[in-house]
C-alpha cells in the first residue's frame, strides 16, 4: 500500500458512490450531486498522479482548476434546469421528464 493506492481507492469509491446516486436516486438534485461527486473523483485522480505519479508536470493541477470551474458552471446550469423542470411538471423526479420518448 502506498499513498497513491489510497488516493486511487478513494477516488474509485467516490466515483461509485456518485454513480449510485445517479442511477438509483429518483431526485434530480441528487442525480446532479452524484455527477458532481464523480467529477470530484476524477479531480482526485489528477491530483494523485500529479503528486505521486511519474512526474507529468503541473498539467494535472491546471486541469483540476479548470475542472472545478466547469463543475461550478455545471451545477449552476443544472440547478436552473431543475427549477425550470419543477415549474413545468411540479415534480423533480427524473422519471417524470419523459416527454420526448419515441
Amino acid at each position: 500500500m502506498s499513498p497513491l493506492h489510497v488516493c486511487l481507492a478513494l477516488s474509485a469509491a467516490l466515483f461509485c458512490t456518485g454513480l449510485v446516486a445517479v442511477l438509483v436516486r429518483g431526485n434530480a438534485i441528487l442525480v446532479l450531486l452524484g455527477v458532481e461527486l464523480m467529477l470530484n473523483a476524477a479531480n482526485l485522480n489528477f491530483i494523485a498522479f500529479w503528486r505521486f505519479g511519474p512526474g507529468g508536470g503541473e498539467v494535472g493541477l491546471v486541469f483540476v482548476l479548470f475542472s472545478i470551474a466547469v463543475a461550478a458552471a455545471e451545477a449552476a446550469v443544472g440547478m436552473a434546469l431543475v427549477i425550470a423542470v419543477h415549474r413545468h411538471l411540479r415534480t423533480i423526479r427524473v422519471a417524470a421528464a419523459n416527454r420526448l420518448k419515441g
Partner: protein, 168 residues
C-alpha cells in the same frame, strides 16, 4: 503518510455514502458539503494547497448554496403524478455499480504501483504563470463558459413574463 491519508479518505467517504442513502434532501445536501470539506482536507494533506482552497471556496461556498436553494424552491408539490420508483430498478442500478466498483477496486489493489517520491511542490506563482502562459486560451474559454452558464442559468430559472405566454 499512508495511514493519515487512509483516515482522511474515510472521513471523506463516510459522509458521501451517507448522503446518497439519506432520505432527507437537506441532510443529504449538508452531508455532501461535509464530504466536500473532507475532500478539501484530503487535497491539503496531499499537498495541493491552492486546489484545496479553491475547491472549498467553489463547492462549500458556491455549489452548496445553489443546491440548498434548489432544494427549498422545489419542495414536492401536492400532487405527484408518478408512482413511487420501483425497488427492482434500484437493485439493478446498485448491482451494476457494484460490478464496476469491484472491478475498479480489484484492478487498483492488484496492480503493483511503482512507489515514487513525491515531486517537489509547485509554487503558486508558477501556477499563475502557467495559467497566464500556455493555458491562456483555456482560461479564456473557461471564463466564456462561466459567463454563458451564468446567463443561461438566469434565463432558465427566470419566470416567464406574462406577455410571452409562458405557463409558469
Amino acid at each position: 503518510m499512508t495511514l493519515l491519508l487512509a483516515v482522511l479518505a474515510l472521513v471523506c467517504l463516510v459522509p458521501a455514502v451517507a448522503a446518497v442513502l439519506v432520505r432527507n434532501l437537506i441532510h443529504s445536501a449538508l452531508l455532501f458539503v461535509l464530504a466536500w470539506l473532507g475532500l478539501a482536507v484530503f487535497y491539503l494533506a496531499v499537498g495541493a494547497e491552492f486546489i484545496a482552497f479553491a475547491h472549498a471556496l467553489v463547492y462549500v461556498g458556491g455549489v452548496s448554496m445553489v443546491v440548498l436553494f434548489a432544494v427549498l424552491l422545489t419542495r414536492p408539490g401536492r400532487v405527484d403524478p408518478l408512482p413511487p420508483p420501483s425497488t427492482q430498478r434500484a437493485i439493478g442500478g446498485v448491482a451494476a455499480v457494484a460490478l464496476v466498483a469491484s472491478m475498479l477496486g480489484s484492478s487498483i489493489f492488484w496492480t503493483r504501483l511503482p512507489s515514487m517520491e513525491p515531486i517537489p511542490m509547485v509554487s503558486l506563482r508558477r501556477l499563475g504563470e502557467l495559467l497566464a502562459g500556455p493555458y491562456l486560451v483555456a482560461l479564456l474559454l473557461v471564463g466564456l463558459i462561466l459567463t454563458v452558464a451564468l446567463i443561461g442559468g438566469l434565463l432558465l430559472a427566470a419566470p416567464r413574463r406574462p406577455s410571452e405566454g409562458g405557463d409558469a
